[in-house]
């Protein structure tokens, strides 16, 4: 569908703004520390989901390893500053580079598997990485984790301050969403989406399929690295279990729930997963149960994700005349299909 490939931003961003506003109102006070922490966490998580969805929406592979890649960036960020006394920006750069390099290494062999096996392979690689975090006591603080509180300034503002970090995270989020938007529209993004749509045809028109998959995977590691580095800076203390498969799985969940392929999807997904439990005024156990119930209901009501549902709602509420040849997301207006003698290669869709 047009809306899946070249995402139409308007309705998506509208949805995202609505959610952010609602959260801002619901949480007690805009400038209270609680809000900043949750929002920072939300935005950082959204970047992670953004990365995962860049891969999933295009080549249709579920990566469970991005959470561990985020961990690599986080550990580099705090480790280089605390152990090696690097400056904030040097460590920031190195974390991102480290994350990209790790992604490149993984990309060299991970695409030998496809479909479900790809997901499992990334699952296993993720576990290995987290195990490494746990056991390399010399480099990372071992299972005790690592902590470091940033000093230094950015344009005269203290980096250690929570609101400054939050500001940096906001800007980074905007930049990363812009980056992904550009990637999706680029030659790489379009070819990657083609691969996810019909890989055999992609090969038949001469596309370098494996290389494209690798490239999109590595490209997706940039927002992950940024998220990891900034998350580590904002909380100051990390441990291996933060970046295990549970987060990896949650990221995929958020991508699906929010709406895969939609720019606002990661924000919505992160808002539901991270923000919602904070907002429900009941005790934690009941809260998680309700959130679980919500997942089931939401995905039932809108199987293509909340962003899709909202987009549909907006379309319903704003009727306009469309010329017949314009890009239509729905197939309602299409003439009746008449199938040729051969059946569709992929059967029921």
């Amino acid at each position: 569908m047009g809306s899946r490939w070249r995402t139409s931003p308007v309705t998506g961003w509208l949805a995202a703004v609505v959610i952010v506003v609602v959260l801002a109102v619901a949480l007690p006070g805009f400038t209270s520390p609680g809000f900043l922490t949750v929002s920072a966490s939300l935005l950082v998580t959204a970047q992670l989901v953004l990365s995962v969805d860049l891969v999933f929406a295009s080549i249709k592979q579920m990566s469970l390893v991005h959470a561990a890649l985020m961990g690599i960036a986080a550990y580099l960020m705090l480790g280089l500053q605390s152990e090696q006394h690097w400056s904030f920006w040097a460590a920031f750069g190195a974390s991102i580079v480290g994350c990209l390099v790790a992604a490149a290494v993984i990309a060299t062999f991970v695409f030998r598997a496809s479909g479900y096996y790809f997901a499992i392979l990334t699952f296993v690689i993720s576990e290995i990485i987290v195990l490494a975090f746990n056991n390399l006591t010399g480099i990372a603080g071992g299972s005790g984790g690592l902590f470091f509180f940033t000093t230094g300034t950015l344009f005269g503002l203290k980096l250690g301050s929570e609101s400054v970090i939050f500001g940096v995270i906001c800007i980074a989020t905007l930049l990363m969403f812009g980056y992904v938007w550009l990637i999706r529209r680029s030659s790489l993004g379009r070819q990657a989406s083609a691969i996810g749509d019909n890989e055999a045809l992609a090969r038949a028109v001469g596309m370098p399929v494996t290389w494209t998959k690798q490239a999109i995977f590595i490209a997706s590691a940039l927002p992950t690295g940024v998220a990891g580095a900034l998350y580590a800076t904002s909380v100051g203390a990390i441990q291996p279990s933060l970046f295990d498969v549970q987060l990896g799985v949650a990221a995929v969940l958020m991508a699906l729930l929010g709406g895969s392929g939609y720019m606002a999807g990661p924000l919505i997904g992160a808002a539901i997963y991270v923000g919602l439990p904070e907002v429900i005024p009941v005790n934690p156990e009941v809260g998680t149960g309700i959130v679980g119930l919500l997942f089931v209901l939401l995905i039932r009501v809108s199987p293509e994700g909340v962003a899709a549902g909202l987009a549909r709602l907006v379309r319903l509420l704003t009727p306009r005349k469309k010329p017949p040849s314009a890009e239509t997301g729905a197939m309602v207006a299409a003439p009746a299909l008449h199938q040729g003698p051969e059946t569709n290669l992929r059967g029921v869709r």
Binding site: G2, A194, L201, A204, E327, L337
Partner: protein, 236 residues
């Protein structure tokens, strides 16, 4: 218009106990549009798959451009100027018709203004202007056929392998496809096609090659259809 020849020598292919192709020898001259005909199950699509790099032959060689190309994958073959279309409906369903063609161009290395120009030209040449913005999954079969061929031309192939391009097309659509293919032939692109529609093939292809039970049983002009071997092959 240079004369380029693809030399196919001794191609054999077996699937389990079934011999799909048995020692096929063929010289394809791109200046001569050629049709591959034969009863169902005679191995035509298998031959296409092997030539285009989707399948490896058990034995035999293929020479093109002064090099051996058997065993190279589809991507390399496209780079060498050999592109194929499919018998089934094969499109990027979720993308628009224009994007289908554009992506093929991207894969061939076209970008920017050049890409847009070529896409517009392709849309125009194949009569797809009214369909350009439509999502491919919703276009009728005949249109889908044309989109597939249009996409295949984006890599500027020197040899186009078309697997049943006219199947499911109405008479009018066949006429349109015929004139489009003639345009390609005029530009020096070699056409090697498989089809059953004789009314479509005859005017277009001077040369007919007949495959039956994996063997080439006839090779000549339209008159081969009248030869006894060919007739009995179809009747069996």
């Amino acid at each position: 218009m240079s004369t380029e020849v693809m030399e196919i020598r001794g191609i054999r292919k077996q699937f389990g106990g079934v011999r799909a192709l048995d020692s096929v020898d063929l010289e394809l001259d791109i200046s001569q549009p050629t049709a591959l005909i034969g009863p169902n199950g005679s191995g035509k699509t298998t031959l296409f798959n092997i030539i285009s790099g989707f399948l490896r032959a058990d034995e035999g060689t293929i020479w093109w451009d002064n090099q051996r190309v058997d065993g190279l994958g589809p991507r390399r073959m496209v780079r060498l100027g050999v592109t194929r279309t499919f018998q089934q409906r094969m499109l990027f369903d979720r993308a628009t018709v224009a994007e289908n063609i554009a992506v093929a161009g991207l894969a061939a290395g076209l970008t920017g203004a050049e890409l847009r120009r070529r896409v517009d030209a392709g849309v125009d040449a194949f009569g797809l202007t009214a369909w350009a913005g439509r999502v491919s999954a919703s276009v009728p079969f005949g249109v889908a056929r044309r989109v597939a061929v249009a996409a295949a031309t984006m890599s500027s192939p020197r040899l186009l392998l078309l697997d049943e391009p006219a199947a499911g097309l109405s008479d009018e659509e066949c006429r349109q496809l015929d004139s489009t293919l003639r345009g390609l032939i005029d530009r020096g692109i070699g056409i090697f096609l498989v089809d059953h529609n004789m009314d479509f093939i005859s005017p277009l292809c001077e040369r007919m090659v007949v495959l039956a039970n994996g063997e080439l049983i006839a090779d000549g002009d339209r008159n081969v259809l009248k030869s006894p071997e060919v007739i009995s092959a179809y009747l069996d």
